[in-house]
Point group: C2
């Protein structure tokens, strides 16, 4: 998905939130914002929002010397998510449709996204979780998700954010783990999950966890390691979590299920849904393949 | 009041709203946004937000050829405000505190501000009006406002937006009109009121209406005509309506009453109030003068 002009205010907001985590020096804030604006003046609008965000967060790192401003927030949301994990697990087991409940919760976890929800507080989380269990949810693809997971031999699950990975674990616990590889970012960017977060969430004890070698807040294959690209190519099913992964992979020719909350008007327009909607959707390539199988 | 980094996302939003009113050509939108970003890269942060906005809206005019993108919206909100004017007038007359009710309504009218409330719909207006009649309102300065108006010999009322001028008329109807000069912008900028709007609101039949000679969405004295500056200098009381006038005049050494709704976090921080709060406040110069009189 390409970037839109409407993404620019959001990017500047993101930059302000990040630089304020790094330093209280308003002159540094101003210097970094001016550099970011300079970069935006000449940006290639055919790129995806995470491709631009990657460059911007690299720039913040270079100019401030801090490459992981969200370190503390990531840890707090990991801890908070782990604290409520047992209760959420009980809710899934007690549910009449455990898979649906686990997917709803995996989507609820997707609100822990400081790229979009910049002022998210810990106290907001439980309310959002409850909302996600009762909100409208288009279950059209639930059955084919289940079938695809059963049929697949090699599943690559692309994680999104710290904290959210605990919610991914709840879903993965209902899936055939032995076939799943869980991928995290190669280096910190915003609050995207890295290997430490997957370990903290307990995922590393369940499934094979790999790094993608990149610091883009999404999955830009050209930016990923050779090893990761091989894993991606070899997987016959990809589960891609969150906006960043949708934005970077929606046009890729691959069997992908996207699981996310549509948190901004730009992505909602691209998905043809309302802002706030919970999304479980197949990639175009997957839709076509399934039609073919049907014939 | 100087501009803050937090104003940048808002400015870009404002530009997008404006250029989309001018043309559907996304390439033109992109070109204008890139030019605006170029201007922001080097902006002088000591300037007020309306000083930057003035340059940006001049740039939009130069690049698009359209200097009055909000023409239709201004007309619609004038008409809508005039439609509800008789009912609002009745409410003021029936009120136990007509002046307070008129000031509350004048503040309610200040929501017709497409610089901040970019997606304001006509249907929102009545709800906002009702809110403003019942919301908390710090009446500390109400008495001294009344006294100042009675005492003044020459009052300059600085209007803000189209539509809103009808609400200003409701307030002016309770004041000694013969002493009031009502000022509007010299040329169109966003939905700021110009002479046509003051005429449409019926103000031109009540009070002396003058143009300030400027196209800044506030009152930047250096940008105003010599004639207006004389009027400003000669007035012994200024009533300054809206955010733009506060942002440009809050540091000016003059007896001013600011009447506005604090619509964004930046101005709320400057005023030391909550976003959405209704404000009737004296300028610092006025506070000092009154203390002196008190001695």
């Amino acid at each position: 998905m390409q970037i839109y002009l409407d993404c620019i205010p959001c990017i500047v907001h993101q930059v302000l939130t990040s630089v304020r985590l790094v330093t209280n020096d308003v002159q540094v804030h101003e210097q970094i914002v001016r550099e970011v604006l300079t970069l935006l003046v000449d940006m290639d609008m055919r790129q995806s929002p995470p491709a631009i965000a990657q460059k911007i967060h690299q720039l913040i790192g270079q100019l401030s010397g801090e490459y992981d401003p969200y370190k503390e927030k990531k840890q707090r949301f990991n801890e908070l998510s782990l604290k409520i994990y047992p209760e959420l697990r009980r809710r899934i087991r007690a549910s009449a449709s455990p898979l649906e409940t686990a997917i709803r919760l995996a989507i609820a976890g997707n609100i822990i996204d400081f790229g979009v929800n910049r002022s998210l507080e810990e106290t907001d989380l439980e309310e959002k979780i409850n909302d996600s269990l009762t909100s409208d949810f288009d279950k059209t693809h639930l059955r084919s998700f289940k079938d695809a997971v059963i049929r697949a031999k090699d599943i690559l699950y692309l994680g999104d954010n710290a904290g959210e990975v605990v919610f991914d674990r709840l879903l993965i616990e209902l899936l055939p783990w032995e076939k799943i590889t869980f991928a995290v970012k190669g280096r910190p960017v915003i609050n995207d999950a890295t290997i430490e977060d997957a370990e903290m969430a307990g995922l590393a004890d369940m499934v094979n966890v790999i790094e993608n070698g990149s610091d883009a807040p999404g999955t830009i294959l050209e930016s990923c390691s050779h090893y990761f690209r091989n894993q991606f190519a070899g997987a016959d099913l990809v589960i891609a979590k969150g906006q960043g992964n949708y934005e970077t992979l929606s046009a890729v020719d691959k069997n992908i299920f996207f699981i996310l909350k549509a948190k901004c008007p730009v992505i909602a327009r691209d998905l043809g849904c309302e802002v706030g909607e919970m999304i479980l959707r197949k990639s175009k390539a997957f839709e076509q393949e399934q039609v073919y199988v049907g014939i």
